[in-house]
Symmetry: C2
Subunit: 665 residues, 2 copies
C-alpha cells in the first residue's frame, strides 16, 4: 500500500524507540522478555507502519489485516507498537507492564487489550490460529465478498513456534490450501532458553516449509529495505510465505545480545543504560518517545480512518447483496431468528440411534439455515458424522463449508479458534473423544478468549467396543469438565442431541464440547418422560419417582437408558426411584439452588451416579452417602455389549447398588 | 544379517498368507482394519524374516531389534507375523481377534501380547516412541556396551502418523541427533478415512524428512527386492531413514483395493472370497497357513535362539565390566539398595525454597548414584531445574544424560516412553505444568503400559505470577489426577519434594507427575510437625490440633504453608485445627480406611480444602459439609503475591472460611 521509500534515519529512530520502550517496560516490571522485542523491532516497525492495513482507533474493523504475535512472550513489543500507532493503550499502560489490572499482561490477551487479535503464549498456538484466520478470510472473500474481505494475516514466530508440532500440522495444511494471504516472519535468532538452538534444532527450516508448499524468503533482520521487499513479495505470492529473518536476540544490548540471558529476564539497569548509550539515546531517560517518531507512527490512525471509510463505502454499496447482508447480520447480532425451528425432533419410531448419528442429522438440518456454519473433522468425518451433505470441500480456490483437517487434531483445535475469530463464522470440528487429549491447549485458549467453536467428540466411552483402551475415553470427560468456561454436553438420546446443538449454537461466547455415542441408544419417549429442553438447564428430571422418593439415579449419555431400565424394575420392586439426566454439569451448576434442589432433593441421600467414565468429580452430585458406578481404570478390546457387562454397566448392577444404598442410608 | 537371495515364490506365498490371515481375522471379528495389513504384508514379511534380529521365544531379550507398528489399527498384521514367526500367539488367538480376554486386542497393547513393544493406536505415538527407543539404544550402546546394545528400531507408519505434530517434533529431533539406528517405513497409500490423502495432505514428505536430516528412500510396496535393498541401505546409513513405500490399501482385494472402504471395516464375505481367488488360494478356506510358509517363517525361532546364545556369551564375557554389571542389576532388579541415603534433608535454616529448586538439588544429589537416570526439559531446563550438573548433553556421538528435547513437549512425552521401554533406564522430563496439556496422550499411554517416567512440572499455579493466565495452571492438576494409574504429587516444601522423588523413583510401574512451585516456600520445621515421610502415604497430619478437633485444613503444595499460618491464628483464637498435607491423592486413596479416617476423622465435618487450582474433585475429601478454597476461573498477570491476595489465598480468607464452616456445622 505504501510504495514510497523508507526514510532510513526516521525508521532507525522509530525502531530504537520500540526496542527501548519494550526493554524499559520489562525493566520497570522486573519481569518479562526484552530480547525478542529488541531483535524484532525492525520487522514490527515495517509491518505496523507500512504493510498492515489497520485502523488503530477502530480495532474491530472487519476488513483489517490481522497481526499475531505467536511468540507471545514478546508482548512488550506488541504493546509498544499499539501505543505508538495510536491504539487505546497509553504510555501509562506500558509502564504498568505485567502489573495487576493493567492492559499490558505478561502475554497478549484477546479481549483485554485493543489490537490484540488472539491470546498467545503457549508456543505454536498463534501460528496455527493464524492459519484458521487465513481460512476464515478466504471463506469470507470467496463466499461473501471478494473486496471486503481481501485481508491478510501476518505473524511473528520464534524458534519455539516452529519446533511445536501444532505449527507443523497447521503449516502443512496451509501449504495444501495455498493460503496466499498468510505472511509469517520467523525470527531465526539461534538462541533458545537452554542455549544455542543447535542443541536441539538443526533442521533446514526453509526446506521444510518448501516441502509444505510455502514460499520461503530470507532476510537480514536489521536490513529494513530487504525486509520490506520480502514482505511486499510475500503479499503477492499465491502461496503462504515464510520470511526467515536472521536476527539477534537482545539486538543492541552490548553484553547480552545473542545470549539466552537476554531472553526471559530484564536486561538490568546497567546493561539497559549501556544499550541506550550504544543506540545514541539518553541513557538516563526511560520510556522516551521522540516527537518525530511519535508523529510518524501515529500517522497510522489517519491512514486507518481512510481505509475504514473506503471499506464502509464499499460495504454500503453492497446493501442489496444478500450474502453481505447475511454476513452483516451474523457478524453483528449473531444467529438469525427462527433457526431453532429447523431442529429435528426424533420420535421413538425412528428406533435406537447413536447420538453421533443424530448429531449428523441435526447438523445437516440446520446447515442450510446457518450459512456461515462450517467445519469438519480430523479425518474421521464418516465416523463423526460431521460432513454437510450438499456442501463442497474447503480447498484451494473453492472455500466450501466442509473442512478436511487431516489427521491433525491439535491444529484443528487452533484453526477452529482462528475461524471463530472471523466475524460471523460458526466453526465446528470433530474427532473421537479420546483425541480431545491432542487438542487441549487450543480448547483452553478458546475458553479463555470467550470464543465459541463446537467440538463434536464421538465414540465417547467403552461403548465404542473393539478398538480397545487406546481409543476408549475414561478420564476425558472429567478432564474437559475441569476446564473453566468450557461446556461439556453428553446427550442421552437423539432429542437431547438436538437440544445440545441448540445450546451450543446459541452460546456465542463459550466453547462447547459434545460427547456422543458410537453405539445406538433408545430414543426416550418424551410423552412419558421429561422434555429434552431440560438440556438447556444442564440436568432435569427425566423420569419422576412413583411414590415417596427413595432413590435417585443420575446419569449422562449412554448410561441414561440403562438407568431408565433399572428404574422400571426398581419401581416394580416397590422402590420409588427418580432418574435425572445430567448432560451438562456447567449448565446445571449455573441454575438456582431452588432448581437444583428440586431436581436433586437434598432429602434423598441414596443417590447413584452412573457414567461409563472416570468417577472423578461425581462426588459433587452424589454426596457423602451416595455411590458412583463408573470406570476405575482403562477399558478393553471386545464387543461393546460384553464390555458394558464386564465393567458393570448393567441393569442388575444398578439395581444392586441402589438397594445397597437404601440399606446403608 | 541374511545375505541370501529372496526365494520369490516362497515369499509370495508367505506374504499372501500374512495378508489373508489378517483379512480373515477382521472378517471373523466383524470389526477391524484389513486394508493396511494387506498393503504392508510384503514389508512386514521382509522385516520379520530377513532383517529383524529377534528371538520369538525370548521376546524380552535385551539385545533384540524393536519393531513398532505405529499405525496400530493394522494390528492384525502384527498378530499374523507374531504367530507365524513363533511367538507365543496361537492361531486360536488370531481367530479371537478383538474378542474379550484374547491376546489380540483391537490395537497392539504392550504387556498384553508377547512381541508387542509398545502400545499404539493414537496416531503419531509409535513414531515418536521409537525415537525414544532409538535414543535409549544409543545411550546403552555408548554408555554401557558397544556390542550388546547395537540394536535397531524399525517402525511401520501411515499417512496419519506423518500428519500428526508429535511425529514431526520427534522426526526433527531424531534427525538432529543422527539416530542412524532408526529404520522407518512409510506406507504411502494415498488413502485416508475421508478419501484421497490429496484432500488434506499434499506436502512433499520426502523433502520434509530430508530437511530434518533423514535419509529418504523410495520403493514400490510390492517389489520385495527393492524393499529389501532399501532396508539394507537404511541399516548402513548414519542418519535415521525413512523408506517411502508406494502401497495400495487393501492390496489384492479386487473391488476394494485403493479405496477407503478397505480401511476400517471387514472386506465382506464375498470380497474376501474373491481376494483369495485372485491370490490363487482356496476361496472357501479361512486362516490357511501352508506348511512351507509355516516352516519358512518359523525358522525365526532357531535364528533367534542362536542370536540370544551369542549375545549371552558376549554378556557373560563382560562379567568384570562394571558398566554392564550395573546395567544388569538396574535392568533386572531395579534400583540398587541404599540409594535413598543420598536423598538430601533440608532444614529450616536453608530458608524458604521453591520446590522446583529443591527438586533440582534432589536430582543432582541422586544422579551420581543412579547412573541410568537421564532426562531433560522441553527447553526450560534453567526454569525446571532438570539439568544434571556434572553430566554432558545427549547429542550425536555423545549420549550424555542431559537431554535437550527442544520446544517439543508432546514428543518429549512419547520419547520418555521410549526411554522407559529401554531396560534399566529411568527417564524424566520437565516443562511448565501448564504444558502438560501438550503431552497428555503419551502420559496416558505410559499409565496404560505401566511405564514409569517422571514428569517434572514446575510453575504449578498462579504463584508463577506475571506470565499470566496462559501460563498459569488451573485445571491441570485435576486433569492429571483423573488419569488412571498416574500419580500426581504436589509437595509442600523442600523435604516433601525429596520424598516425592523417592516415591517416584521407587515406583517402577507407574508414571509420576511432580507439580512444583516457581515461588519460594518455607521449609516446614519437621521437629514440630509431621515427618515428610508421610508423602509416601499420600496424605498425613502435618500439624495436629491442640484441643478437641474442630476444623480440618487440607492442602497441597504452596497452599500448605498458607494453611499452617492460618492454623496458628485459629489455635490462638481457640479453634482446635488440624492441618493435613495431601500431596498425592492416588497414594492416599490406596491407604487403609483406618489410616484415612485417622488422618481425616469422619467426625469432623468442618473441612476446608485449599489449593490454588480448580476445585474439581476436592469434594471427595471435604464432603457435603465442607468447603473448598480454590480457583474458579483463569488466573491473571501480576506479581504472585498480589494474585494470591486477589484470588483469596490469604490467611484471613482461610480463617474466615473455617469460622463459617464451624458455624454452619
Amino acid at each position: 500500500m505504501i510504495s514510497e521509500q523508507i526514510d532510513l534515519s526516521l525508521a532507525k529512530e522509530a525502531v530504537d524507540t520500540i526496542r527501548l520502550l519494550a526493554a524499559d517496560a520489562v525493566e520497570q516490571a522486573q519481569s518479562g522478555h526484552p530480547g525478542t522485542p529488541m531483535e524484532a523491532a525492525p520487522i514490527a516497525y515495517l509491518l505496523y507502519s507500512r504493510h498492515l492495513r489497520h485502523a488503530p482507533q477502530q480495532p474491530d474493523w472487519p476488513g483489517r489485516d490481522r497481526f499475531i504475535l505467536s511468540c507471545g512472550h514478546a508482548s512488550a513489543l506488541l504493546y509498544s507498537l499499539l501505543h505508538l500507532t495510536g491504539y487505546d493503550l497509553s504510555l501509562e499502560e506500558i509502564k504498568a507492564f505485567r502489573q495487576f489490572d493493567s492492559r499490558t499482561p505478561g502475554h497478549p490477551e484477546f479481549g483485554h487489550t485493543p489490537g490484540v487479535e488472539t491470546t498467545t503464549g503457549p508456543l505454536g498456538q498463534g501460528f496455527a490460529v493464524g492459519v484458521g484466520m487465513a481460512m476464515g478470510a478466504r471463506f469470507l472473500k470467496e463466499q461473501v465478498d471478494q473486496e471486503l474481505f481481501d485481508y491478510r494475516i501476518y505473524s511473528l514466530c520464534s524458534d519455539g513456534d516452529l519446533m511445536e508440532g501444532v505449527a507443523a500440522e497447521a503449516a502443512s495444511l496451509a501449504g495444501h490450501l495455498r493460503l496466499g494471504n498468510l505472511v509469517y516472519l520467523y525470527l531465526d535468532n539461534h538462541i533458545t532458553i537452554e542455549g544455542d538452538t543447535a542443541l536441539a534444532f538443526s533442521e533446514e527450516t526453509a526446506t521444510r516449509f518448501l516441502a509444505y508448499g510455502w514460499q520461503v524468503l530470507r532476510v537480514e533482520g536489521e536490513n529494513l529495505e530487504e525486509i520490506d521487499g520480502a514482505i511486499a513479495c510475500a503479499k503477492e505470492d499465491p502461496r503462504p510465505s515464510l520470511i526467515i529473518a536472521r536476527t539477534h536476540i537482545g539486538q543492541g544490548a552490548p553484553n547480552k545480545q545473542d545470549s539466552s540471558a537476554a531472553h526471559g529476564a530484564p536486561l538490568g539497569r546497567e546493561e539497559l543504560r549501556l544499550t541506550k548509550q550504544a543506540l545514541g539515546r539518553n541513557p538516563e531517560q526511560s520510556f522516551e518517545v521522540p516527537k518525530q517518531v511519535s508523529e510518524h507512527m501515529f500517522a497510522a490512525v489517519e491512514r486507518g480512518e481512510s481505509l475504514v471509510r473506503e471499506w464502509q463505502q464499499k460495504f454500503e454499496s453492497r446493501q442489496d447483496d444478500a450474502r453481505s447482508a447475511t454476513w452483516h447480520q451474523l457478524a453483528g447480532k449473531g444467529l438469525s431468528d427462527g433457526w431453532q425451528q429447523y431442529l429435528p425432533v426424533f420420535d421413538t419410531d425412528s428406533g435406537p440411534m447413536a447420538t453421533r448419528k443424530a448429531s449428523g442429522l441435526v447438523l445437516n438440518a440446520l446447515a442450510p439455515h446457518l450459512p456461515l456454519l462450517l467445519g469438519g473433522s480430523a479425518d474421521l468425518a464418516p465416523s463423526n458424522n460431521t460432513a454437510l451433505q450438499n456442501e463442497t470441500a474447503f480447498r484451494p480456490g473453492a472455500s466450501g463449508r466442509n473442512i478436511h483437517f487431516g489427521v491433525r487434531e491439535h491444529a484443528m483445535g487452533a484453526i477452529l479458534n482462528g475461524l471463530a475469530h472471523t466475524p460471523g463464522l460458526i466453526p465446528y470440528g470433530g474427532t473421537f473423544l479420546i483425541f480431545s487429549d491432542y487438542m487441549r491447549p487450543p480448547i483452553r485458549l478458546a475458553a479463555m478468549m470467550g470464543l465459541a467453536p463446537i467440538y463434536v467428540f464421538t465414540h465417547d466411552s467403552i461403548g465404542l467396543g473393539e478398538d480397545g483402551p487406546t481409543h476408549q475415553p475414561v478420564e476425558q470427560l472429567a478432564a474437559l469438565r475441569a476446564i473453566p468456561e468450557l461446556r461439556v454436553i453428553r446427550p442421552a438420546d437423539a432429542n437431547e442431541t438436538a437440544m445440545a446443538w441448540r445450546v451450543a449454537l446459541a452460546e456465542r461466547q463459550r466453547p462447547t464440547a459434545l460427547a456422543l455415542s458410537r453405539q445406538n441408544l433408545p430414543v426416550v419417549d418424551r410423552k412419558t418422560h421429561g422434555a429434552a429442553e431440560g438440556v438447556a438447564r444442564g440436568g432435569y428430571v427425566l423420569a419422576a419417582e412413583e411414590g415417596l422418593l427413595q432413590a435417585l439415579l443420575i446419569a449422562s449419555g449412554s448410561e441414561v437408558s440403562l438407568v431408565l431400565a433399572a428404574r422400571e424394575i426398581l419401581q416394580q420392586q416397590g422402590i420409588a426411584t427418580r432418574v435425572v439426566s445430567l448432560p451438562c454439569w456447567e449448565l446445571f451448576d449455573e441454575q438456582s439452588q431452588d432448581y437444583r434442589h428440586e431436581v436433586l432433593p437434598p432429602t434423598c441421600p441414596a443417590r447413584l451416579a452412573v457414567e461409563a467414565a472416570a468417577a472423578f468429580g461425581w462426588e459433587r452430585y452424589v454426596g457423602d452417602r451416595g455411590d458412583i458406578l463408573a470406570m476405575d481404570g482403562f477399558g478393553a478390546s471386545a464387543p461393546a455389549d460384553q464390555l458394558m457387562e464386564y465393567f458393570g454397566f448393567t441393569v442388575d448392577q444398578v439395581i444392586a447398588r441402589v438397594r445397597q444404598l437404601i440399606e446403608k442410608n
